[in-house]
């Protein structure tokens, strides 16, 4: 496991620790006497009992650990949990309560994007973040938002199809006037800040 819960394994007589509060899925959770280098993925899985985000690589390349930070998809293994402050974390466990998430999950199944399933919680988390930001993302926007989710079973194309299916279902048929509105004021793209 890449999770750094190895205080003793590192001969940890002087393991620097700290206690802090994390905002996870709408609740304030107290993390006590934790090593300061623990990544968010480890804290979620091993301290808070939230195993939905997966530990695939610990190096930021596989995307299976994706969670939402203030609504943006991020890799939990790349985040020093103790330095997050009051930023809001949302994991797949909580996203699962939204009806929109069920639509995304259904679309992924229909498009053939769910095979071994290991990448899926991360993909769903990224797709939900994308669709919350852009109701009808272009193909380029979809591929860019999902470029951190290498799916070893189905490859990238089925998940792109799934986003289109989910977006189409979610957006009510456009009237002429809303189409005009979109031309005048295109939805802004962009990131965290």
């Amino acid at each position: 496991m890449s999770g750094p819960g190895f205080g003793d394994a590192l001969g940890g007589d002087a393991t620097p620790t700290t206690s802090y509060v994390l905002r996870v899925n709408g609740e304030a959770r107290l993390i006590e006497n934790a090593w300061i280098g623990e990544n968010l993925l480890y804290v979620l899985r091993e301290r808070l009992g939230l195993p939905g985000a997966k530990d695939g690589c610990g190096q930021g390349v596989c995307g299976t650990c994706t969670v939402q930070l203030d609504g943006v998809a991020v890799a939990a293994c790349l985040i020093a949990a103790a330095t997050l402050g009051d930023r809001e974390i949302r994991t797949i466990e909580d996203l699962d309560n939204d009806p929109e998430t069920a639509d995304v999950q259904r679309a992924l199944i229909e498009a053939g994007a769910v095979q071994c399933g290991f990448c899926v919680p991360g993909v769903v988390t990224s797709v939900c973040a994308l669709l919350a930001r852009v109701a009808e993302p272009s193909e380029v926007e979809i591929r860019r938002a999902l470029d951190g989710h290498p799916c070893r079973c189905a490859g990238p194309h089925p998940m792109v199809d799934a986003v289109r299916i989910a977006a189409r279902r979610r957006v009510p048929r456009q009237t002429h006037s809303t189409m005009m509105f979109n031309v005048i004021a295109p939805p802004t793209s962009g990131g965290a800040e």
Binding site: P4, G37, G58, V72, A75, I79, R144, T188, G190, A192
Partner: protein, 283 residues
Amino acid sequence: MDATILMPLSLDEAVDALARDPRALPVAGGTDLMPRVNAELVRPSALVGLAKVADLRRWGYEDGFAMLGAGLTWARLADADLAALVPALAAAANEVGTAQVRAMGTLGGNILASGRPADSLPVLAALEATVSCRSPGGVREVAPHLLEPRSGPIAEQLLRPGELITGVRVPLLRGVQEFVKAPVGAGRYLTLALVAGPVVGDVRCAVGGAHPGPVRAFEAERWLAGRMDARSGRLSDARDAADFGRLVADEVRPEAEQRAARAHLRHVVAVCARRAVQRAFGG
């Protein structure tokens, strides 16, 4: 007990925190630091989280320059407003890692990244931007294009212990800016930034990934400037782009252990430079 986690709220507090404990590591996005922490290569004794220092995420104008905060993320640098100011940096941002890395990874963290060559550095070197390094003693401006790119990690030359990068100062240019990135195997990339200023004859080109720091191709730049038509700014000959590519490769001489690998890298640099010129000048 010593403070092991510090969450400063201002630049002054952040600089003070680092001055008090120079072994404390700043954490911006964590995308460069955490893979090393996870792999047990780095074991911080204290962390200074920069998430609450709003000044690091600001940007603005200052007579002819854009001031970009060190805490701006790649995703933010790619947004339309900042892309219009510094197109080559936005082009680099668009090609960084994955969406998750672009959402968290910052400009300042990239300049000091030790995991892999920083994609921002060739851009900053070609633009002749300066990096603002702050300590309790004041602010130092360091120009990446004036460092020794072949002699070792750029972070060590750039920053003194206890200093914080607050941002970069980028000259606002009216000409064209191009950024080209090419994978060369084993997770390694070569990058190239080309800037052709509004004045005919002002060409600058820097290559990243070939050496520890960004390498400017000064002689090739002068050659290309000499090929520009004094009035139209266009190149004299369709073959200039390819010739420029070879000159850049000869000057930069990318590093690799084996001769065949060196030859391959040289070829890739030449192709990147040719493409950048073709995009910038057409043809």
